[in-house]
């Protein structure tokens, strides 16, 4: 199967999944206790006003009709309107998605910058104190809560040493890199720990394989063997994990955005839950899910680029 055919096939396969996702998010919002009309108007509102608001929100219609409206809106790219800030949810997504995506991508880059040298070092210096120290780092990275590491970094580098800003975003892309460094680093540490552990094991098992012996027997220099024959092959197994953890970072960004007060989708998701702004919760949840599906698709594609043996 060609790559294009594969992509089309995968996209078609995504349709039923997306449909179920849509139904789930729709039902989810309706399952939340409390009447949005009352939430909007306050508890002192007269029954008349509440009824008026309910019909304004379309809540007086039967559930299947509401679902029909939801689907047809969705088909037109309309995710509804925030009940609190009175802005279309799609506009909010457009405003906030870039920051979340940037943060996730930045975190992944940092994670790789940490992972590759550390795991090569650990594998080459196997069973020495260096290896032990790096393994200690991986256990710590897996076991410590990201939001706590974030706060400690904030206290140390933001408040005490004043090297980094304590939150918010910059005014230019270059400044954003500076502003987003601490949150991205916080997210990257946990992922780097998992990836390092995995890549170290992959490197060690690749080192024992025959093609590496052949390369050594040919008299290639140690560095060439390591970089061209060991690292490249071992990285392939890590690519799958990478996709998985990109999806994971998307979820983790919700918490880290809240810690660093970043105006991304995650911090708004949390504040919308607190404010019972269900349209936003519904729209954002759906966008997150689509984002992850797309990331998985891209990972599978990347897989075939990295490893030519894999036909899609």
């Amino acid at each position: 199967m060609g790559r294009t055919a594969y992509i089309i096939n995968r996209l078609v396969q995504m349709i039923p999944t997306l449909a179920i996702l849509g139904v789930l998010t729709f039902l989810m919002i309706r399952a939340i206790p409390g009447d949005p009309a009352v939430t909007l108007l306050g508890v002192q509102a007269t029954p008349d006003k509440v009824a008026q608001m309910r019909s304004h929100l379309g809540e007086d219609k039967p559930l299947p009709v509401q679902f029909g409206i939801f689907v047809s809106q969705l088909a037109h790219g309309d995710l509804g309107r925030s009940m609190v800030v009175q802005i279309p949810v799609l506009t909010l997504v457009k405003q906030r998605l870039p920051l979340t995506l940037g943060l996730v991508a930045f975190a992944m880059v940092i994670a790789l910058v940490i992972t590759i040298p550390l795991s090569v070092l650990a594998a080459v210096k196997r069973d020495t104190w260096i290896d032990q120290a790096i393994r200690g780092f991986t256990v710590l990275g897996i076991s410590t809560p990201g939001f706590w590491v974030g706060i400690l970094l904030l206290i140390l580098l933001g408040v005490r040493l004043r090297v980094f800003p304590v939150g918010g975003v910059g005014t230019s892309p270059l400044q954003d890199v500076y502003y987003l460094f601490l949150p991205a680093l916080t997210m990257a540490l946990g992922v780097a720990a998992v990836l390092t552990r995995n890549l170290r094991d992959a490197l060690l098992s690749t080192m024992r394989s025959e093609h590496v012996n052949v390369a050594r027997a040919k008299g290639l220099r140690g560095r060439v063997v390591l970089m061209r024959h060991v690292v490249r092959n071992a990285l392939i197994s890590t690519v799958t994990l990478l996709g998985l953890y990109l999806g994971w970072l998307v979820g983790g960004s919700v918490i880290i955005e809240s810690v660093f007060a970043l105006p991304g989708m995650g911090s708004m998701l949390i504040s919308s839950i607190m404010a019972r702004d269900y349209q936003v919760v519904q729209g954002f949840t759906l966008v997150y899910a689509v984002l992850v599906l797309v990331i998985y698709l891209l990972t599978d594609l990347a897989y075939s680029f990295v490893d030519p043996r894999i036909t899609l």
Partner: protein, 295 residues
């Protein structure tokens, strides 16, 4: 065993029958990670059990004159904004965070093993429905799914249990399903069937003991993961509600004093990290046992 054939000397007792102490020593030599893990987890659980009895103060005892004090002899870990003793709160919190992590790993383990075994063994419509559920679930980022469920159920400790269990069983089921798919065609399973064993007996007595190892190890990382998740949700205000001492929400409460009172976020977070490391090391030790290696 080569030891038996090469030992012509008379022994006071047969070599194969080691005393329990010798067995433990041998295990400790071959798998120090496991021993360290067991000891750490035992200590952590001990703190959870006896913590409330050894805590110097009541966890919610307020004292406005002694609010936000740095660590001292009277308050080893300092006091929070209500003048509550932080050591006592961390000790009381151990129970809440540990119980959450352990229960929300074991219940999904049991549910997941049951569903995964049935789906893998029988295939058919059970398996089809199950695979659909997986597909849907992986599309949601873990935290977004948890947060969405908590948005429906409402914040709170009990709802956090429900949410983590609801989300957690799928991974176990997937793991067991995969293992059972392979194992049911292996010789011992086929032999059991040829001997006329019932499906129930094949699954419970033949397949599960052989495939449950990876799921148990995975459960250890789920304990870590769920303690972190529980703390993160507490941190976001979606989990345990005040004034219950829970480590994540303690870190969250400390944020307004971030610039001045480092001890407020530092110690509850450290407690989470210690518990996390304990279960991670235990999981590594168990996985060494499963792989049969020494490291």
């Amino acid at each position: 065993m080569s030891t038996l054939t090469t030992a012509p000397v008379t022994l006071e007792r047969p070599l194969v029958e080691r005393s329990r102490w010798q067995q433990i020593r041998r295990l400790a030599r071959r798998n120090p990670t496991l021993v360290v893990g067991v000891v750490l987890v035992a200590l952590v659980i001990l703190v959870g059990v006896i913590g409330p009895f050894v805590a110097p103060y009541a966890p919610n005892l307020q004292n406005y004159e002694g609010a936000v004090q740095p660590p001292s002899l009277a308050h080893v870990l300092g006091t929070d904004k209500f003048g509550r003793d932080q050591l006592s709160r961390v000790l009381f919190g151990a129970r809440i965070d540990l119980a959450l992590g352990i229960v929300t790993a074991l219940v999904p383990l049991a549910i997941g093993v049951a569903i995964g075994a049935v789906a893998g063994f029988y295939g058919g419509w059970v398996d089809t429905i199950f695979m659909r559920i997986i597909e849907i679930q992986v599309a949601f980022p873990f935290y977004v799914l948890l947060i969405a469920i908590l948005a429906i159920l409402g914040p709170g400790l009990l709802n956090m249990y429900y949410a983590l269990i609801l989300v957690g069983w799928v991974a176990f089921a997937r793991l067991i399903r995969g293992e059972v798919l392979v194992a049911k065609n292996l010789e011992y399973a086929v032999a059991a069937r040829t001997l006329g064993c019932s499906d129930r007996r094949i699954i419970l007595r033949h397949l599960l003991p052989n495939v449950i190892g990876p799921a148990l190890i995975f459960a250890m990382s789920v304990v870590v993961f769920n303690i972190l998740a529980g703390a993160a949700l507490g941190f976001l205000g979606l989990g345990v509600q005040p004034p219950t001492p829970e480590w994540g929400s303690m870190v969250a409460d400390s944020r307004e004093f971030m610039t001045s009172a480092w001890w407020l976020p530092a110690f509850p977070g450290l407690a989470i990290a210690i518990v996390g490391v304990a279960f991670s090391v235990l999981g590594d030790g168990l996985s060494n046992v499963l792989r049969g290696g020494t490291r």
